[in-house]
């Protein structure tokens, strides 16, 4: 983007001759070549390569000549671990999306009321984001440990029957991971949304005050719709975090108890490198790509295609 802007500044001087369109903005085009090349080779090229090899029986090394059709996909969808992974990702994804936005927005709105010590609170809320997922996972592993964590402390206070051990209970373990994920991520979303709130013109607030509209109504019916681009940014960041969730699970439960907290990214990594079965790993990663596209394409169509640019 910045490159194009720079070239635009220079263009008035060169347009006097009305040059060939191909050579228009030559510097910008030259400067974009590395990125175009990267996009073509690394993103598209490697994606095609991966998808192709997901139809082969590649083991430790890629074997482009051992074509097996859809075998890898059949095996993938009959594997319990994969099905559990997908289910976990769906639960984690939906909850994390809703809660991150909700908590992030509420915190941002509270900070936006010009409270005293805003800087302190902002730092506190944002601080977890400075920790890596591995550290976050380990911290929450201890907090949720039944002997030393919350359960142990409450029991020592005298409430003997209190149980709260999500990480040891297969049916709710994914929520234990969710807590850690939200603790880590919602501060960041708060900061982004706060920046958006600060971008709202002061006159809007003045106008709504003159009209006598309550504050909460102003937020929901006026400010939020105006912040649409900011929400889209936040949404994309959260969604990317959801799809790639891996290190948090590894640090907190390593997929356990049993296979109750497995996630797709972990399946891909382990099939590719531990099980020495590239074909199966590629098939799983292709399914992940497909699921992203299923969400992305209709959205992109609605956003950019349907109504044209206005």
């Amino acid at each position: 983007m910045a490159v194009t802007d720079g070239a635009d500044v220079e263009s008035p001087r060169t347009t006097t001759k009305r040059p060939n369109r191909l050579f228009k903005n030559m510097t910008a085009k030259l400067a974009a070549i590395p990125m175009i090349f990267t996009a073509l080779v690394v993103f598209i090229g490697c994606t095609v390569w991966t998808i192709y090899h997901s139809f082969t029986k590649s083991k430790l090394l890629p074997a482009p000549d051992k074509w097996v059709g859809l075998d890898q996909y059949e095996r993938l969808w009959s594997t319990r671990r994969w099905l559990v992974s997908i289910e976990n990702l769906a639960i984690y994804g939906i909850c994390s999306l809703v809660l991150s936005l909700l908590i992030g927005f509420v915190l941002a709105a509270l900070l936006d009321r010009k409270i005293r010590g805003e800087g302190v609170f902002r730092t506190i809320f944002l601080y977890p984001f400075a920790l890596s997922f591995v550290v976050t996972g380990l911290v929450w592993q201890w907090i949720l440990n039944p002997q030393f964590g919350i359960q142990g402390v409450v029991q020592r206070w005298g409430w003997e029957s209190f149980t709260f051990d999500p990480l040891n209970n297969p049916s709710i373990v994914i929520y234990g991971i969710l807590i850690a994920g939200i603790w880590q991520g919602s501060g960041f979303i708060m900061v982004i949304l706060l920046a958006g709130l600060r971008g709202i013109d002061e006159d809007i607030w003045k106008a709504s005050r003159v009209e006598g509209i309550p504050v909460w109504k102003t937020y929901i019916f006026i400010v939020v719709p105006m912040m649409r681009p900011i929400f889209v940014t936040a949404l994309v960041l959260i969604a990317a975090g959801i799809i790639k969730v891996y290190d948090l699970v590894v640090a907190q439960t390593s997929g356990g108890p049993g296979i109750a907290s497995e996630v797709p990214a972990k399946y891909v990594i382990e099939k590719m490198f531990q099980a020495q079965n590239l074909g199966q790993g590629f098939a799983a990663s292709t399914m992940m790509l497909l699921s992203v596209l299923v969400v992305l394409i209709p959205w992109a169509y609605l956003e950019f295609g349907g109504k044209g640019r206005d």
């Binding site: 095996r75 039944p146 390593s254 997929g255 049993g258 296979i259 109750a260 490198f273 531990q274 099980a275």
Partner: protein, 409 residues
Amino acid sequence: MNLYKATTAAIAFCAAGAVSAADLEVTHWWTSGGEAAAVAEFAKAFDATGNNWVDGAIAGSGGTARPIIVSRIIGGDPMHATQLNHGRQAEELIEAGLMLDLTDVATAEGWADTVNPTSLLDSCTVDGKIYCAPVNIHSWQWIWLSHQAYADAGVDVPSNWDEFVASAPALEAAGKIPLAMGQQAWQSSGAFGVINVAVGGPDLWNKINVNKDADAAAGPEMAKVFEAAAAARAMAANSKVQDWNQATNLVITGQAGGQVMGDWAQGEFQVAGQVAGQDYTCLPGLGVNEIISTGGDAFYFPKQDDPEIEAAQKELAKLLLSPEVQVNFNLKKGSLPVRGDIDLTAANDCMKKGLEILASGNILQSGDQVLSADTSTQIEDLMVEFWNDPSYSAADAQAKYAEIIADAD
């Protein structure tokens, strides 16, 4: 003058470096106290030959280290030597021509005559050529029993698996965990393999794992094995630890009756100052079938262009199997040596039991030797779910297991 001196010194230094033979970078995942001491024996012996052992330890278990090792070899940045488990993990690397052929060293040193059991060397052999140097034998088929736990519960220490199962209610009544189990996949799968050999017998194990007989895997004998595993699962229900050494610690401190774990567990008992026979008992083959599997570690040497390095690699391969190094290394590691012709009088009771079984030839191949990494991981996935989910019935797990064996390669 100073410059002159410095230059000559530098030249002399470089020249000396070139004359003394090569630096070899060796990767392995032996990072715990006992393991590091054992690998230092290799380094010491290799440095004594005038070469230089550059240690490339990778923290974490084999599961972490193997992908790093393999990707370095495939990626064109191979180390000079590396530990792997002997078996099928390096099969494709050998077929792709990335590993050094050690056949001439093996012939000159007569490995074929000294390595015992010979299946270890077979695991290193592809198309009649030898590609790795086995260094030790680790076996899975052990149960470790806490004398204190049984004394507290007022029952005798069991001498086989059936007695162990029978004593479980007494232990539970005394507030003990009958069976300590870590919850990681490899432990679930390993313990199942041990129960399989003990309850079903070695023939059944061979039929399924070596011949990949899916009918046997779905058969009534195997059903008994799964029932036994389900019973073991109930005994381990209260053992909420992750790592194997935490589970071993439950046995050492008398909180748990026993643990099914490989012979590396005795290092933990040793560190805790416990004595075999007095504080703990080890039963090979769960006291039913006295048999051990012969998995273990081997060194592979990725191919290099430099003939000097290749010479040093072969020197190292030769050294790893020399009698003296084998004794020093295995005593520290707590594993069994790969040579049948050396004397290990310093070994402790449990190790001696293992050596006797090895000498009598009651051996099985290890899972690493007969199953591909892909199949092993599928079994691990199944087992970790089975052991941690009490609602997963034995029959369902067996059906899934038979499917995996039918697809195994």
